[in-house]
Amino acid sequence: MAVPKVRVSMPAEAVRGDIIQIKTLIRHIMETGYRVDSVGRNIPRHIVTAMRVTYAGAKIFAMDFTQGVAANPFVAFHTRAVESGDVVFTWTDSKGVVETVTKTIIVT
């Protein structure tokens, strides 16, 4: 069973030209790399490094993360509803793991 790791909240429909808000959440420990375990060994950094968002193929938003971003990162941003299409969200982490989710928007 695949554990759902991301949550995206955005309107399913919009009027052309409207500005919509998109909220994203990803489950990630965002291990800083500064901690040590109970026997003193350094716990290596493990963080989301980037999030990229495309809308009908065009890049609309991106974020570069460091360990200064809180665990289980939440990001909210805006975009103009220009056309109906797929909005694709991709997160990459420092181990190269990629999470992706696609949402569809109908624009009238």
Binding site: P4, R7, K23, I29, N72
Partner: protein, 252 residues
């Protein structure tokens, strides 16, 4: 003929019986944190609830049975359940909290291995089930078979412990609402658990929170699922009588 003291006791008891529910821990949060808790798109606890929802439908055990196969739509079948826990299991006479009840179902009915305490799986499924009682008032039974556990939990709450030699009551009764370093002391109610604590940067159980409290007092940290914490959990749930469930809550 009643003495003045007996009359006073009666009045106080009546007042207590009709008492307003205590304020939830979310009353002590900043506006921003309260808003975050209420926003399903921003509340990180919902990531675990989503995992729990997937687990509800996942086949488990030799009979490949999912929770959904017996219980159907959790929104209907599980509504109100978490608000009644901890509760005494009639068959064994043992007090079970929600996580214990889930594990009981898992081992007894699904014939699968119990989830480890504080594992993501158990937290996720517990949070998912508890979430189905969102907004419902906590209503645990403390009479009959539950009474001895309730009395034990009440005694624990009022007993001084640890190097700091404090009882739960000292902070959470006498000083609730007062500031303590960066926080405001709450009434210590369990209505939001499993909860996402900023200190943990993760969802965690009430027993984990109790262990944190114990550590703060330099008192013995009992095991997850221990009899002491289960009895205390019942007492805390009773203290939260009438308080709406908020799982998954956000707490500092």
């Amino acid at each position: 003929m009643r003495t003045a003291i007996q009359t006073l006791a009666l009045v106080l008891w009546a007042a207590g019986a009709a008492a307003e529910p205590l304020p939830s821990g979310s009353a002590f949060l900043s506006d921003e944190m309260r808003a975050r808790q209420a926003d399903d798109a921003a509340n990180p606890g919902m990531l675990w609830v989503a995992e729990g929802a997937a687990m509800w439908r996942a086949k488990a055990g030799p009979a490949a049975a999912a929770c959904a196969d017996c219980h159907g739509d959790a929104g209907k079948s599980m509504r109100g359940v978490a608000a009644r826990y901890p509760a005494v299991d009639a068959a064994s006479g043992k007090l079970l909290n929600l996580a214990g009840r889930i594990n009981r179902c898992r081992t007894r009915n699904q014939k699968a291995e119990a989830f480890a305490y504080e594992s993501d799986e158990l937290l996720a499924l517990t949070a998912f089930v508890a979430r189905q009682s969102k907004g419902l008032p906590m209503q645990v039974a403390v009479d009959g078979a539950a009474k001895p556990y309730f009395e034990r939990g009440k005694a624990f709450f009022h007993r001084r412990r640890g190097q700091l030699n404090l009882a739960c009551a000292h902070c959470h009764d006498k000083n609730a609402g007062k500031p303590l370093r960066g926080d405001v002391i709450s009434h210590g109610l369990p209505n939001g658990y499993p909860a996402y604590r900023l200190t943990w940067q993760s969802l965690g159980s009430l027993h984990r929170r109790l262990r944190s409290c114990s550590f703060g007092l330099r008192a013995t940290r009992h095991d997850f699922g221990s009899d002491e914490y289960l009895a205390l959990e019942l007492y805390l749930a009773r203290r939260a009588k009438g308080v709406a469930m908020e799982t998954p809550a956000i707490r500092p």
